[in-house]
Symmetry: C2
Subunit: 314 residues, 2 copies
């Protein structure tokens, strides 16, 4: 089933211990779409400025991403982020953020984008996430990402947004912050209890906690699953790893929409997410994913299975 | 093959968000021995003071641990530690440390203890670890733990100690600190390259990085393996989890000494280590492990396999 993703399209200037790059193609919606494109058709909704060239658009088009809902704002400038990572790549400092055309962004989905059965609400202001969700009332699978900022300044709106989706994908620290529960399982169970309304009785059924270099955990009403990160000796740039992870996860689920959304399917999706994210961090920005092949994904999936198996011998 | 463990026997006073306990039985050698006792015969070497009662000794004896090399020092006081954990149990503050009989401890192994084929050097001053290692030149499998303090104040001695063992078990942060390499795989590879001497050419062949609530990773010359922690909704007291983990790991390896030390065996040992550690944190001090059964271990092992498996379906 086609996927619509709403989120940032950006230029990122990044410095890591391994080098630096100026104004690379980036943004949550871009990283998500490139990863998800290995599994399913993706439509990107988001604004760019006049500084966003056809060359940048081409990177997405080459991977089959539909960019017809990317709005180029006359006279505007594309969202810009500058950051620097510490020696162990686990800490990063934001040096500059220029919202540009993202300021005052009001997502308007075309009829085609609204027709997607799967929606990913990348990390944007939760009011906007709720607005987009409302434009796609019939979507069959909706996932959401967020960040510490929105937990701090717009928690109520974020909780409402979460109650309106099927799947929540957050860093584990964010999940703890959001719920006030330091224990991962308890925190996830808390979010699983959030209903759209007492009467409606639905709300999220899938919680994914991203744990950075440690991997990721999945909590559903029926089970728990955890997967380590794929071990890499060389990590160049973690920017976009979380969105790439989400793209692999949601992309795989969308491509298997004929199946029931079982824990078994979700686990396979977690494996794709883990593998896609591991490729993303091997080069700056979108470089690695742009040249990634299906064969490489399949090979690393086999390796991921191999490094997580132990025998049942007594 | 019988195991000898040299390390601290202690009284711990611990406060966590879930309660507090005064002067519980604790110490690295104790936690290690209780866990390893589920798999193999264990002999504990370490000093205690006159305040260490038969009741405390009985806790070890009940689990079949051989305490005949526990030295009771006349007029001495048992090593004492007081600590308090933060809300998420990931940070802890040491409020008091009284070395007592541990000050000036010179391990003298009896002939029986020296005859063990397996040795665990719990976290003590690296000079002492080297001294004990030298007393057991024919041990077939030697593992070592350490801590940030020794990396800071006695790094050269610790590096020598590491070069004289087969297996290094450290927290992942300590492994990074020890090697100056932020990347886990690179850090582990670095330690794998440390030889006892250029001529001797051996040195450690097994590196285990403990990652707390995230689990643990295993790096050998031939492979990588990672296992998440067993998910618990209630963690009461993490004290001793690392030593309990080591006890499960080394205990299982010792019990399977007729097998070659393959990655396959090490992975099974990692699973036991993970399960034992998960039980340890469910209650204060040694309470949970003291009442643990083999059936509970077997059941949780099956669950651990279940929560780490994903299918190879495309």
């Amino acid at each position: 089933m086609p996927i619509t993703v709403v989120g940032s399209i950006a230029f990122d200037s990044v410095k890591t211990p391994f080098g630096e790059r100026e104004r690379m193609l980036g943004g949550a919606a871009v990283h998500f779409a490139l990863a998800a494109s290995f599994f399913e058709e993706v439509r990107v909704v988001g604004p760019v400025g006049e500084d966003f060239s056809d060359h940048h658009m081409e990177a997405m088009r080459t991977r089959g991403v539909n960019v017809s809902d990317v709005q180029r704002i006359a006279g505007g400038r594309t969202f810009f982020w500058r950051g620097e990572y510490g020696w162990d790549l686990n800490s990063r400092e934001t040096l500059d953020t220029q919202l540009g055309v993202f300021e005052g962004f009001q997502p308007k989905l075309s009829q085609q984008s609204r027709a997607s059965d799967v929606l990913f609400l990348a990390n944007i202001q939760p009011d906007l996430q709720r607005d987009v969700r409302a434009q796609m009332p019939h979507a069959r699978f909706v996932a959401l990402d967020s960040m510490n900022l929105w937990i701090e300044v717009a928690r109520d709106s974020l909780v409402s947004a979460i109650a309106s989706v099927d799947c929540v994908i957050l860093n584990d620290a964010e999940l703890r912050q959001l719920t006030g529960k330091p224990n991962l399982v308890s925190a996830a169970r808390e979010v699983l209890s959030w209903k759209r309304s007492a009467a409606a009785g639905d709300g999220p059924s899938v919680i994914v906690a991203k744990q950075g270099e440690y991997g990721a955990a999945l909590v559903t009403r029926s089970g728990f699953f955890a997967l380590p990160a794929y071990p890499l000796e060389t990590v160049i740039d973690p920017t976009g790893a979380g969105d790439t992870f989400a793209g692999g996860l949601v992309g795989y689920i969308a491509a298997h929409s004929q199946e029931e959304l079982s824990d078994e399917l979700l686990r396979r999706a977690m494996a794709r997410a883990t593998v896609l994210a591991s490729f993303n961090v091997e080069a700056f920005g979108t470089e690695r994913i742009e040249r990634l092949t299906r064969e490489e994904i399949a090979a690393r999936l086999r390796e991921l299975r191999a490094i997580t198996q132990f025998s049942s011998a007594p």
